[in-house]
Amino acid sequence: MTALVKMAGIDLRHGGDTVLHGVDLKIAPGEIVTVVGPNGSGKTTLLRAILGAVKPVAGRITKRPGLRIGYVPQKLAIDRTLPMTVGRFLDLPKKIGRQEAEAALTRTGAEALTDRQITDLSGGQLQRVLLARALVGKPDLLLLDEPTQGLDQPGSAEFYTMIAEVRQVLGCAVMMVSHELHVVMAASDRVICLNGHVCCHGTPEHVAGAPEYRALFGTGTKGALALYRHEHDHAHDHAGHDHG
């Protein structure tokens, strides 16, 4: 199968600094890839490069011709002066009609929100609406930037379950950035750990055991790692295959 996105020797800049160096990576159809890494490690920049918002200063990004991308941004800061209902929001930039909008909202459990103002939604509701909007164009690849930021733990667990369902139904690949290592890893086929470059990648088990990963997250985040290990011990039942 041809890869949806292929990066070869990519260097990326953000605000004048090279934040990522020499990135090689492929995204295959239908897989869930999670990008982890400390703050400032270039996770969001990598996602925005796939989107086309950041141009690489070196290397090549190849996208499958006609690739449709659905994007869920980290946050949506709509000014309160902009009146916008959920239904109208899904109609942008192309009119899709009430029926299709409601179908998309139903898929993400947000069907009751069609006539609500975006600025009145809670964080969890907004995430569902953003996901619904990203699904409207029937994407081949879904890009999610810290999609569960601001959600509590049950809320984010629910969100990841929804992502897994969406992948199953639509067959789209998913690439997401997250800081919730322990939750996300169990839901991913493949994990990429960034810190200025790809320091390790592979199945969640492989990455969690890699010395590079432990060097990054083993110190200073002992609590989180302990939590991860605990969860990880019970999460061997998903089908992980090694892409590394």
């Binding site: 989107l51 994007y71 941004p73 949506l76 009146p83 916008m84 929001f89 930039p93």
Partner: protein, 263 residues
Amino acid sequence: MSLLDGFLVRAALAGVGVAISAAPLGCFIVWRRMAFFGDATAHAAILGVALALASGLPVFVGVLLMAMAMALFVGWRDAAQSADAALAVAAYSALAAGLVAVSFLEGVRIDIEAFLFGDILAVSRGDLAVIWGGTALVISLIVWRWDAFLSSTLNEDLALAAGIDARREQLLLTLALAVVVAVAIKVVGALLISALLIIPASAARPLASTPERMAQAAAGVGALSALLGLWAAWIFDTPAGPSIVCAAAFFFVGCSVLSRKSS
């Protein structure tokens, strides 16, 4: 004697024309929090007046060029985030430089107040043609690019995922702003152009639940303000431009109070 011979009729047509292009554009200025951006562009108009008088160009052309230059300059500089203070520096520097430049022009006796506060009662047929031409241009642009403008206002990356280049849409909005400034200077003057952009849009906010409604309501409020302001100026013998802005402020207060009562 045709209807357009009455200076009050011409003034009313000019005011309404400017208001219905300024108001929908003003919605974007408000949504994108670009109020100072509007100020900077409008204040550069005085520099444009000086340029026009010095070079013999029509005032409209000089103002249009200068407003575009300023809008492009601050738009390019503040592509990342529009820093409040930087824009204010640009706005007031442009205004002061314009006033100084005008004072250097020898042999030209001009009434600078007309450019600062507008001179709507002196609108000629030619001015009317320019105003309505500019209005038609801006309205067509907004209608044509509406969904793209709205998408890039919401979130640049989301727009990009849908194939919309947010930078290009911002550039188009910026150029539309320069056109509005150029046609509005005759009506309300450089100092109060921003008011005509922002007050009707803000007044319309509580009346609307979708962006389309808000833009339409803003145009309505703007047009009514122009007529009410002119009427007041005629009755009370007050300056027309500031009277129009006062009328808009009156509508703003009215809409705010009404919406608070009903909610």
